[in-house]
């Protein structure tokens, strides 16, 4: 609460220094939090990648006994969980954090301390989840945790409890981050930036955030129900007690399918920024790309049962979900065509970022087409739970999301750091990743059609699956080599710094208008927005008429939210940050450079939440340890003024 006269005893002084570890623990700067997200997620990416390579080593030959079934089950469970929740989502979050305020011309997000809390809770969730490896109790029920195989009867160890607690803690982080970005994007845009002048990446972030806020609670419910089944003997998914294991699948996929779009939409946003920049022309069909994204986000809620075509829901349900699933291919296609339209007639600078984005279109298309194949329940009856599905979603999540993210890394790296990544190494990185990726996953289509089920730790010699599996395993290592080249590139480029200017790519959006890296306050002067791709059109005013079909002279003064015409007169009120009552009120829309002070309380609250989580894993007495941190964090946060009196 914004209560200045209420005081709370401070056991620790407020962090003031701008350097050192305490400055990071107390940071509320969206750029630093973005960096933390990025580094942490990349660390998990290496962990998840090693898990994937171990899986590939085991499957490289028939009847292999290198890794037993128990470890194998843990590996694929943790690989899936890690890559989804600890890699792709937080890498996207890193971009959200870094870019959203910069793209909308704001100085921070709406709730900077809530933002810090999101990160600390995310870190805690990841650590708890992976701590299970050290105890030897890694989850082994699949990232989808199907009951009753994930229940206490058939899975008595602590593994799935780690999984539930870890995911629920990560869910808290995601919901908090989602709320933060929704409020930031709606309330803190620079003057003149109507919704339809926002960059596409910002739009996709908004759609993703809405999905996060709505989908993560559903996962939380699934987790709570499974947890009470496991620990307290309730009967949500216990068929002997009147429950139904299929219910778990409904709830999980009701979360799970929107989750797929949570993973892919940010990458689509990144690609929609990179392609126009290096094609040197605006995104083709901007409103259609935006609407397609919104439609995908909306329709993502009505397709969950296509994960369950073989569960026996009956022909009526299967028909309905087959149709809704096929429909979702239409807006996806619209996006792909618009990206090609963006390339068409452009002046393409084929650097690393651009190559990753173009490859994104190419690879994502393959994933989309194979998706249509199992949108049809009769063909899905042969493909469900086979390597065909594995191939499909890796084309979507690696060929799509990950390539998009790498494109974003090469694209925004100079903005984040002030120096370039090496382009020659970048080219090697791209080529190795593309070759390795396709070598790994293209044969898996064939394996699936040849009847190889998923999640089997071994297969017989007489099945005819050896060559394809060996190729896939080699591909996995080539892909891994590509990632190593990337890491080498970062080190090499850091040692041989090639300094980047503020606007290295002749960019289009507001982040390129400030220095590289940006100052703590992002913008010396909050920009006034007149156009979509405002920065570009101000650099090249002669192109305004070409894009809008008429010149400035026809522009109408307007402040309507959804207006996409250029404006002459900037409405004075920007709808800047409102002081919301959580105490984490952002600073104003930019009347004076005034940043929120650092705070330890998000970290303390995060510690409290994670100790409470550990309590579920160990003993209720641990709650007594966690509770003081929790209460201390909460009260300290509530009573601490955003800024100390100067």
């Amino acid at each position: 609460m914004t209560t200045n006269s209420l005081t709370f005893p401070r056991f620790i002084p407020r962090p003031k220094s701008d350097t050192g570890i305490w400055s990071w623990i107390g940071t509320v700067d969206h750029k630093r939090i973005g960096t933390l997200y990025g580094l942490t997620a990349f660390m998990w990416f290496i962990v998840g990648g090693i898990e994937a390579l171990m899986i590939r080593v085991q499957l490289a030959q028939a009847e292999s006994t290198l890794i037993g079934p128990e470890t194998f089950n843990q590996l694929f469970t943790m690989h899936g969980t890690t890559m989804v929740f600890l890699v792709i989502m937080p890498l996207s979050a890193a971009f959200f954090n870094w870019l959203i305020p910069l793209q909308i011309g704001a100085r921070d997000v709406a709730f900077p301390r809530l933002n810090a809390l999101s990160y600390w809770v995310f870190l805690a969730g990841g650590l708890i989840l992976n701590f299970s490896w050290i105890t030897g109790n890694a989850p082994n029920g699949g990232w989808f945790g199907y009951a009753p195989n994930s229940g206490a009867t058939f899975n008595p160890g602590l593994g799935m409890t780690y999984w539930i607690v870890g995911l629920n803690i990560l869910g808290v982080a995601s919901i908090a981050a989602g709320l933060n970005f929704i409020v930031t994007i709606i309330n803190m845009r620079a003057p003149g930036m109507t919704m339809f002048k926002m960059p596409v990446f910002t739009w996709m972030t908004l759609v993703t955030s809405v999905l996060l806020v709505l989908a993560m609670p559903v996962l939380a419910v699934a987790g709570i129900q499974l947890q009470t089944d496991r620990v307290y003997g309730t009967h949500f998914f216990n068929s002997l007690g009147g429950g139904d294991p299929v219910m778990w699948q409904h709830i999980f996929w009701l979360f799970g399918h929107p989750e797929v779009y949570i993973l892919i939409l940010p990458a689509m946003g990144i690609v929609s920024e990179v392609l126009p920049t290096f094609a040197r022309k605006p995104l083709f069909g901007y409103p259609f790309v935006i609407f397609a994204g919104i439609v995908i986000g909306f329709m993502g809620w009505f397709v969950w049962s296509h994960h369950m075509f073989t569960v026996g829901l009956g022909p009526a349900a299967n028909s309905a979900f087959a149709i809704s699933t096929m429909l979702i291919a239409v807006p996806t296609g619209v996006k792909i065509f618009n990206w090609i339209g963006t390339l068409w007639g452009g002046n393409l600078k084929l650097n690393t970022a651009m190559l990753f984005s173009i490859s994104f279109i190419a690879m994502f298309t393959i994933g989309g087409l194979s998706g249509v194949m199992h949108a049809s329940p009769p063909t899905d009856a042969q493909q469900q739970d086979t390597y065909f599905i594995v191939a499909h979603f890796h084309y979507v999540l690696v060929g799509g999301a990950l390539l998009g993210i790498f494109s974003g890394i090469y694209f925004w790296w100079p903005k984040f750091t002030g120096w370039f990544l090496n382009e020659k190494l970048g080219l090697a990185n791209w080529a190795l990743m593309m070759i390795g990726f396709n070598l790994q996953f293209a044969p898996q289509h064939w394996l699936g059609l040849d009847g190889m089920p998923r999640r089997i730790y071994t297969y017989a010699e007489n099945m005819g699956w050896e060559n394809s599996n060996l190729a896939a395993s080699i591909g996995g290592f080539v892909l891994g080599l590509g990632i190593l080249v990337f890491m080498f590139n970062v080190l090499y480029s850091k040692m041989n710094k090639k300094i980047a200017p503020a606007d290295p790519w002749d960019g289009r959006t507001l982040e390129w208008s400030t220095s590289s890296p940006p100052p703590p306050h992002d913008f010396d002067v909050i920009p006034q927005v007149q156009y979509r791709d405002d920065f570009w059109f101000k650099k090249y005013p002669e192109t305004v008429a070409e894009y809008y079909g008429h010149g400035d002279d026809h522009a109408v003064p307007s402040g309507a939210q959804f207006d996409d015409e250029p404006v002459n007169a900037i409405p004075t009120v920007s709808g800047g940050a409102e002081d919301h009552g959580h105490g984490d009120d952002g600073h104003g829309g930019g009347h004076a450079i005034h940043l929120p002070d650092k705070s330890y309380y998000p970290f303390i609250l995060g510690v409290g939440i994670s100790i409470l989580g550990i309590g579920f894993l160990t003993h209720f007495s641990v709650f007594l340890v966690g509770a003081p941190f929790f209460i201390w964090g909460l009260l300290g946060w509530s009573l601490e003024p955003v800024n100390d009196p100067a």
């Binding site: 609460m1 209560t3 409020v183 307290y232 309730t234 009967h235 949500f236 139904d244 219910m247 509530s638």
Partner: protein, 188 residues
């Protein structure tokens, strides 16, 4: 806050949907028709509804700057919320005495978890309101930052509305639910 409530709608929605899907699937008693006490719960529902009224009045007076009346009405919210929780605790312990626990059957499972989660929401609301009542008493909750109270009120009304839905779904709709057809056979 609206976004958060949207999130919470999904949360309760999933639990209520679970309850509805599993309605009438308990393989053994006690069944809802044997155990639900609608008159008593109607009283507690009324109490919760009244707390929303108190909430509206409290916000009104805080906005008007009438500190004491505002504090009083917020305290009334706290009190009514606590009464509601008290009712719920009595109900829970009575059910347990009559042999219905979350482990007994699928009705017990869905009933306790759904109403328990709601009770936890009410508890959080009570703590939040108590904090605000203290702020109001100290004079730090003023007309210019009444938004703090308005947001808390939004939450309170939301939790109240969720209860109306739960009351309808569990107490009114399922009041006559007995064993499912064929349950006797399972015990034979």
């Amino acid at each position: 806050m609206w976004a958060f409530l949207g999130s919470d709608v999904m949360f309760f929605g999933a639990f209520i949907a679970t309850y509805l899907v599993y309605r009438g699937r308990s393989l053994n008693g006690p069944y809802p028709s044997e155990i639900l006490n609608i008159p008593v719960t109607s009283v507690s529902t009324f109490v919760l509804l009244m707390s929303s009224l108190a909430m509206v009045l409290g916000l009104h007076y805080v906005k008007e700057g009438q500190k004491n009346k505002g504090t009083l009405w917020i305290l009334a919210v706290v009190l009514l919320g606590m009464v509601f929780i008290g009712f719920q605790m009595v109900e829970f312990s009575e059910f347990v005495n009559e042999g219905l626990t979350p482990r007994t059957n699928i009705f017990g499972t869905t009933f306790f978890i759904l109403t328990g989660i709601h009770g936890a929401h009410v508890t959080i609301g009570v703590l939040w309101m108590a904090f605000l009542a203290y702020g109001s008493h100290k004079g730090t909750l003023r007309p210019d930052n009444a938004l703090d109270l308005e947001i808390a009120g939004l939450y309170w009304h939301f939790v109240d509305i969720v209860w109306i839905v739960i009351f309808t779904v569990i107490y009114l709709i399922s009041a006559t639910d007995g064993p499912p057809p064929g349950a006797e056979l399972l015990h034979g």
